[in-house]
Symmetry: C2
Subunit: 235 residues, 2 copies
């Protein structure tokens, strides 16, 4: 189902709450605005929220079925989420059920030809977050991290794992509020540092509207990062 | 080991990155400053960071052993963390190993007589986060949430689970940046809303020093919350 996708980019984070979903959503939106054929897949089974950012009601927007499930177009991006159908269960999925849901979504979704597929993943370094890497062909990982010292050990662990697995790896610094940089950490693990995204309280009001989201300061910062990423990916 | 602890308060969040650790640390520090006998237990095996906030080097500060492991005093608080010994593994713990580490820490730590034990927990609604509730006697949960709409479904799920289990439940709103309140959500699940903590970028610089942490705007907000909490707990 992913054979005609040129670049698959899982967006990962060592812990939740670092803005991974918004970085994934904005990267996809920008790439589409720059003329690429883009897909966005929300595989964060534990807490899918890309549809909230995009203003998509999973009850109302049901994908068609044609040689598999066809992701509907949302603001120029082909969008699929575990929140469609019954994958977004009201009670938390545990263990193997999480894995099953992820593999099912990947098996049934018909992406067609894409330049870029951005994949929002479960946060953390647990089984399902790392297993996603095994289910995707040639994953080129975009790690999202905040500069907080409370989060540093996790960021290092994530980069170490990606290096260990020999995966192409990029890192962006979100909610940046000062000069403390993750550049040396990126260098240490031979990850490509793509830049910094400033803390933007204006984002909350823009949630639910791709147009408003694209108009935020955060979006301007992600635009620069998306450009660099597309270049690195050869798209 | 917890029989002489008057109140056990697990601090929980539906997702990571909402400030759960800092809320736990500051609540413990304030309660100690207000004259209570306080313990702080970091059970966030996936990403322990209370010791980073407190400026404790797990290699250097080793607990004594006397009828079990005696938590060392840090800024007036008896402090134990999975980061001591080998519980804080460099590679992420998976599945049953997480559970084992948590049960081991609980089994060996000798808290003595305490008014309050604050417990930092693994974020999310996964097995280990919820299992912690079963290992603690009469847990009175302090949920930490941010007002973001991206996080709302998770907050609701957490409150629903706590209500379903009939547990005493409190909620604080962290990184509050506007008027959007979690009060109606608290009411919906009969959880006690203790207040709001403003977003404070100054906290990052204070990490590692209990004195500096207590001097931040965030600490002032948590102080009010800690006072209410102690009252609610009858301490």
């Amino acid at each position: 189902m992913l054979s005609k996708v040129k670049a698959v980019v899982p967006v990962m984070s060592a812990k939740g709450g670092v803005g991974k979903t918004l970085v994934a959503v904005l990267t996809a939106l920008h790439a589409a605005r720059m003329g690429r054929r883009v897909g966005l897949l929300d595989l964060d089974v534990t807490s899918p929220s890309a549809h909230i950012a995009l203003g998509v009601d999973p009850q109302k927007l049901q994908p068609e079925e044609r040689d598999g499930v066809v992701p509907p177009d949302v603001a120029g991006v082909k969008f699929m989420t575990v929140a469609f159908y019954t994958w977004d269960k009201p009670t938390p999925l545990r263990g193997p059920a999480v894995d099953d849901a992820i593999r099912e979504v990947l098996a049934v979704t018909n992406w067609g030809e894409l330049d870029l597929l951005v994949v929002d993943t479960p946060p953390g370094l647990r089984d399902e977050a790392l297993d996603v890497l095994e289910y995707l062909p040639r994953p080129r990982v975009l790690a999202v991290a905040t500069p907080s010292r409370l989060a540093r050990a996790g960021v290092e662990r994530l980069l170490a794992i990606l290096e260990e697995q020999g995966l192409e790896r990029y890192i962006v610094e979100n909610m940046a509020i000062g000069a403390v940089g993750l550049e040396e950490l990126a260098e240490k693990y031979h990850a490509r540092y793509l830049g910094r995204i400033r803390y933007d309280p204006g984002v909350e009001e823009a949630l639910g509207s791709p147009e408003k989201l694209l108009d935020t300061d955060m979006a301007k910062d992600v635009e620069q990062i998306a450009k660099k990423l597309l270049e690195e990916l050869g798209l």
